[in-house]
Point group: C2
Chain length 348, copies 2
DNA sequence: CTGAAAGCGCTTACAG
DNA sequence: CTGAAAGCGCTTACAG
């Protein structure tokens, strides 16, 4: 049996209530008693039973994190930083993987929230809106939306509450503008975009931001082709094959996700194409090993540490009953070797 | 307020005790009542308060996982698979990152176990033995050792209990034997090993297994040089520099970790060396993007899914009070392009 | 400044 | 087959 507050109280010759007050640092307890109790608790290795605390205070001091895929290095890093940030505030992290499956996401949401396993959930939404998300909104759960916004078109109370939820994600506008500048500067006119699922808002946004930046620089809209991926590596390869199969294939490709960029590079290779000689490639999400690729991959890096601490700060504010603002730290383009002049033989 | 068992009972016109029994499927309750209660609970979206359950039953239905670094793709994948396996049994996963720091590991161990936040902990030990690990043993905590063994030299009760803890890790013997075969077959005689910290058992083992396999094939022991790393990328680069600085630098390098292999490749490059023309390289841990490297990295892949389910199965057995066996699924060498004939100009 | 008491939401012997 | 009651380990108003 682990040591209970009762045991500490007995040893200190006081009552459990006094121990509780002493350990919480209440000034209602004399300094002498407080110190003695604290010391004894320490000696005995006392830790409060979190279940009992949760029952009494309705606070578990843990938060849930539902990511779409921890095997994706971006989310792995993010999860690690979020755990670190949470631990700094003595919060535990319950990790779940939705695997991009809305039903799984909703299962985890319900298990975490309704079961009071956690005080709030940081979630990377797998779809624009799901019943579970709406349900979480209806119960006024503490939710932080990470990396992806959700569709807030309905007017019901659940949606209205969800609309109050802070959303933390990176701002790719400038970086995508730089990508447009880079590619047009290299003479590219036919651009392929491997987008995230287009029924999600990130999908539409990353596409639109790049398309607009390209059009602003004189690239005709119809020479920009979009292939839809699903954030996973294989979809990057498939989408690449689709883009290459067009009558006028792109001379440069932007993959809106790290794993899809890896897939795109594989797809390009298996088509016998050289990067950047035949086709230029820019990825989204960066990794320490991208500069070992052949060629080193030019990519947009997300501000992972900033995202993690913003998400945790937002959650803590929510838990403190304060209104929490979202945050949009900026991305940064990392220039490496996967972009080159548009191949003239293939140019429009 | 979330719906409580009491609310379900009121709606069903029974008492809370009956609801509890009905939901747990007890045959002490008539089938009719059981079904009705179950249906009503479902309709009301009832989920038991895990804190209350934990307090009453001393079981949280969640397990802790302390990895050394989730940013390491091997551990990210492993954590993902463990979460998946745990979820299949309706267990939650509380994730912690020790960051290879024994003190942090011990903090998490204490917080998780003493606070009864979880029923047991799967831990990747950061050192051969730590006070926290010993303490966990002393309280007969349910511990599964993952990826790395610990030193069980002491004879005290704590260590004895820890010695009962199942240990789940991959078996690299055959794969390392294959590496020795491959490298000696290519004419390599001077081999460099970038080992994990040598005060850990994995460190010694991965080194010894490869050294023995090489010696068995006629490589003189003194032409094998070992540089110590710390599982992180930078240490791979540093260790590589050390190996290259020797009077007789190795013609082939084995990096005993995925991140250190990435570091090694970077180190080789910044030394102006070409792989595999000048130096051959073999890594430990595989990743889907290793074949995009220049050159594609030959590496030993660990059986991640098998490790994850073995770890969870072992934990479930422990929680069920059964004696749990460890497991050692085998690794597999993945041949790619980073090994070539020993450079004659540099050969012994 | 400290103690005695109630109660958070469950589960499980114990009655009937 | 179901109900009434106790108790898991805490915290917090209420006495004194």
């Amino acid at each position: 049996m682990a040591v209970r507050m009762q045991d500490v109280a007995a040893r200190a010759g006081v009552t459990a209530a006094t121990v509780s007050l002493a350990l919480s640092g209440s000034t209602r307890i004399s300094a002498a008693t407080r110190e003695r109790v604290t010391r004894i608790a320490e000696e005995m290795g006392y830790r409060p039973h979190v279940g009992a605390q949760a029952l009494r205070t309705d606070s578990t001091r843990s938060i849930g994190l539902i990511v779409s895929d921890v095997a994706n290095p971006f989310f792995a890093d993010l999860a690690g930083e979020i755990q670190r940030a949470a631990a700094r505030h003595r919060y535990s992290l319950v990790l779940c993987n939705s695997d991009e499956d809305p039903d799984r996401q909703d299962d985890y949401l319900a298990a975490l929230l309704a079961g009071r396993r956690v005080d709030g959930v940081i979630v990377v939404p797998t779809a624009a809106m799901t019943p579970g998300l709406r349900q979480a909104g209806a119960t006024r759960a503490r939710i932080v939306l990470l990396d992806r916004p959700v569709a807030l078109t309905s007017r019901d109370a659940a949606t209205k509450h969800l609309a109050q939820s802070p959303i933390v994600r990176s701002d790719a506008r400038e970086a995508l503008d730089e990508v447009a500048e880079l590619l047009t500067g290299l003479g590219h006119r036919r651009i392929g975009i491997i987008a995230p699922p287009l029924q999600t808002q990130v999908g539409q946004e990353r596409r639109d931001l790049l398309v607009d930046a390209l059009v602003r620089r004189g690239v005709p809209r119809r020479s920009i082709t979009v292939a839809e991926g699903d954030f996973r590596q294989d979809s990057g390869a498939t989408a690449t094959a689709q883009l290459l199969a067009r009558r006028q294939p792109p001379t440069a490709i932007f993959a809106a996700d790290g794993l899809m960029a890896v897939g795109a590079l594989k797809g390009l290779r298996s088509a016998g194409l050289q990067v950047p000689r035949d086709v230029s490639l820019v990825g989204f999400d960066d990794a320490p090993w991208f500069d070992l690729f052949d060629p080193p991959l030019t990519a947009i890096a997300q501000p992972i540490v900033a995202l993690a601490s913003a998400a945790v700060d937002a959650m803590l504010a929510l838990l403190a009953g304060e209104s929490a603002l979202g945050s949009q730290p900026a991305c940064q383009l990392v220039h490496r070797g996967s972009c080159g002049p548009a191949a003239t033989g293939r140019a429009a």
